[in-house]
């Protein structure tokens, strides 16, 4: 017993000393974190990411790119925080409120999980402006909320059409990360686009996980298994809307000597160099543009509110041409694009 007490005493003393060291060592210089040399707009932008945060090479990174652009071009002060997997609703509200408490005048919430939290915190802080990505529900609606949504179905229509034009077997595939309505929108557009080119085309669809298991957005092994199966059954182009799992789809395409289509960003530029050659095009969802728009409008004194839909017309979604694999069909795709913008083609949102 005496021994145990001695150990405890030594440990507590050590701990206290350590804490004291930490305090004295860190006090100077922690405040006033930004010392950028660019012109200051006086805006302070806080960003709350979805699970994964900056560095997920997908959705969150796209939002981060918009923030980085605003930081370098408009000189705004920024602060970032990411969600924890499986967290409580109160934790999301708390994160937004903490950003407000730290005097951030504009708060961007990335991902529909924040919908209810944004609605609540925006109501409690009418002087602060909020943006939410991927939600346009009543939950997040408010006079100080910019609801950012994308017409993923329209962009997916174009890559679906491209897949059908490039397919030699008349058989293509779709790999969705998690079976949620948002990803169904990608699938719906893709199928519609493919059928517009070739009404007899065969489309295999597969979702990697079912909610609340969201691992389908970050598990390349699952993506590879699904895509392997499709290529073996005769598909020669596979489109993925599976975030980080998409890497597995590209690996499978490379191994099978077939083609794949990327998502969210121009993946022929962002994917690992060895698989870039199989990515014939990507459906680009410009979260970065939407985030930058929100901050830029605020800097110009015109706050964005209401549901802002980033569709083909607004340039919020598009297809990429990096690599030149679809240069020969670009004219046909642009024709479809014009028809969608003109309203001649209505793209469904559910498959």
């Amino acid at each position: 017993m005496r021994h145990t007490m001695k150990v405890a005493a030594v440990m507590s003393v050590a701990a206290l000393t350590l804490a004291a060291c930490g305090d004295s060592g860190n006090d100077p210089g922690t405040s006033g974190s930004s010392s950028s040399t660019t012109k200051k707009s006086g805006l302070k932008v806080g960003m709350a990411y979805d699970v994964g945060g900056r560095g997920d090479q997908s959705f969150n990174d796209s939002a981060a790119a918009g923030l980085d652009k605003a930081k370098s071009e408009l000189g705004v002060d920024t602060k970032e925080a990411a969600a924890v997997n499986g967290e409580n609703e109160a934790a999301r509200e708390e994160r937004l409120q903490q950003l407000v408490d730290a005097d951030y005048t504009h708060v961007v919430a990335v991902g529909f999980a924040y919908a209810a939290a944004v609605g609540k915190v925006a109501k409690a802080n009418p002087d602060v402006h909020f943006a939410i990505v991927d939600d346009a529900s009543d939950d997040s609606k408010g006079p100080n909320v910019d609801q950012i949504t994308f017409a993923e179905n329209e962009g997916s229509f174009l890559v679906g059409a491209a897949a059908a034009m490039k397919s030699k077997t008349g058989h293509i595939g779709f790999v969705g990360g998690v079976n949620v309505p948002l990803i169904k929108k990608f699938e719906a557009g893709y199928i519609a686009g493919a059928k517009a080119v070739n009404p007899a085309i065969k489309v295999d669809s597969q979702y990697l996980t079912q909610p609340p298991d969201f691992s389908g957005f970050g598990d390349p092994a699952k993506g590879k298994t699904a895509a392997d199966g499709m290529y073996q059954k005769g598909a020669d182009v596979v489109y993925h809307a599976a975030g980080g799992s998409g890497g597995g789809v590209f690996t499978a395409a490379k191994a099978a000597g077939k083609l794949a289509i990327g998502v969210d960003s121009d993946q022929a530029l962002t994917a690992p160099a060895d698989v870039r050659s199989v990515i014939m095009t990507s459906m680009i969802k410009k979260v970065d543009v939407a985030v930058y728009d929100f901050i830029k409008s605020a800097a110009d004194g015109k706050e964005k509110t209401g549901n802002n839909i980033y569709d083909l017309k607004a340039g919020g979604v598009d297809y990429s041409t990096t690599g030149g694999a679809i240069d020969d069909i670009k004219a046909k795709l642009d024709d479809y694009k014009a028809k969608i913008i003109a309203g001649e083609i209505k793209v469904p949102v559910t498959p």
């Binding site: 934790a91 708390e94 730290a102 009543d138 309505p181």
Partner: protein
């Protein structure tokens, strides 16, 4: 006798305090090793919570508490119910679907939904109980598997019944009617949010646990089975029946875990509902030594760390997951500390008895000589 009690209290406090100190030191060392601001981190975590955060701590703790008690019921009988996590999700889903229909008015809807949750949780746990009693399958294995199955079943059913709101990308059950949404108590002055009304549920569960396990024949049998199965059998306890009862009781309590969240906050079950509560409960039950009061402190500590960690990214620029390291180290340390303290306690007890015996022996020769 009185001094013994004081000693016992000190002894039982020594382990958690020791564990906290160890966690503090280890976490600090981790922070130093990766070059994060140690002082800033502790200043953020140990800051006095704002009223709003105080409410969040109490709310989170009440949910953790129910989960830990559900686990503790099994622990007391040497049953490791790892399945609280799956049981609470099955239960809250069943309750959310029923409550969302709004077939019954106000409180009646809430009470019936809570009963449905208990039945659902109990039924899900009874699968593991049946497998253990009839087939000899370890409950550790079966409950872990049932957790995975629960995830699959619930998400499949959720897609069937999902109520899609206009413009929303989340899938959730139908929101429960306003009359069955609980507003909560204004317990902390100055807070904009409220404490869950179903905090009452946590208090009731705690009282029930303390009473049934400590004061009834059933509780005695349960604890006896946990201490020594052979002794329990010898004294006439039907062990298989105890296993089934304890497992189902544990599952029924697990069914209550999501209730404060469902009626006080989320108002539906969907993709954004809090997960992992069952696993937090295992840690907290361990920390609180399966004691109703001990678990309350454990739950508050866990909730405190969880809520305070939210500011880490914003104030100190350190990932919020750091708090998982703290919690993990606390658990490790507390298990080791309990064992150290138990041994130390035994040694003190032995030396005390030995010195008393020696004193008796010293006194004995005198009395022996007296009659002569």
């Amino acid at each position: 006798m009185k001094s013994l009690n004081v000693r016992r209290i000190l002894m039982s406090l020594a382990a958690p305090v020791l564990a906290l100190v160890v966690a503090f030191v280890v976490t600090s060392l981790v922070l130093v090793a990766v070059g994060d601001p140690v002082g800033e981190v502790w200043k953020t975590i140990l800051a006095v919570p704002k009223p709003r955060q105080g409410v969040n701590i109490i709310n989170a703790a009440s949910v953790f508490y129910i989960s830990a008690i559900a686990v503790a019921v099994g622990f007391r009988m040497n049953l490791f119910n790892i399945g609280v996590d799956g049981q609470y999700r099955v239960a809250v889903f069943a309750a959310a679907v029923f409550a969302g229909q709004g077939w019954l008015p106000g409180w009646l809807n809430i009470i019936v939904s809570i009963l449905i949750a208990m039945v659902a949780g109990g039924l899900w746990a009874s699968i593991a109980a049946y497998l253990k009693v009839k087939r000899g399958v370890s409950e550790v294995i079966s409950t872990i598997m049932l957790n995975a199955i629960a995830t699959g079943v619930v998400s499949w059913l959720l897609l069937k019944v999902a109520d899609r709101k206009e413009g929303s990308n989340s899938i959730e059950t139908k929101t429960i009617p306003d009359s069955s949404q609980l507003e909560g108590f204004k317990l902390i002055p100055g807070a904009t949010n409220r404490v869950y009304t179903l905090l009452i549920l946590a208090v009731l569960v705690g009282l029930l646990y303390w009473f049934v396990l400590g004061k009834t024949r059933f509780g005695f049998d349960l604890r006896a089975t946990g201490r020594s199965e052979t002794a329990a059998v010898a004294s006439g306890v039907k062990v298989p029946r105890m296993v089934v009862t304890a497992m189902i009781a544990s599952g029924a309590l697990a069914g209550l875990v999501g209730m404060p969240l469902l009626f006080g906050q989320d108002h539906n079950y969907g993709t954004t509902f809090q997960s992992g509560l069952g696993f937090a409960g295992i840690g907290i039950a361990l920390l609180g030594r399966n004691n109703a009061v001990g678990i309350a402190f454990g739950a508050l500590l866990w909730a405190f760390l969880d809520v305070q960690s939210n500011a880490l990214q914003i104030q100190a620029g350190v990932a919020q997951e750091l708090v998982n390291i703290i919690q993990g180290v606390i658990l490790f340390a507390v298990v080791i500390a309990y064992e150290l303290i138990r041994r130390a306690d035994k040694r003190i007890e032995q030396s005390r008895v030995a010195s008393e015996l020696a004193a008796q022996r010293r006194a004995a020769p005198a009395t022996e000589g007296a009659p002569a």
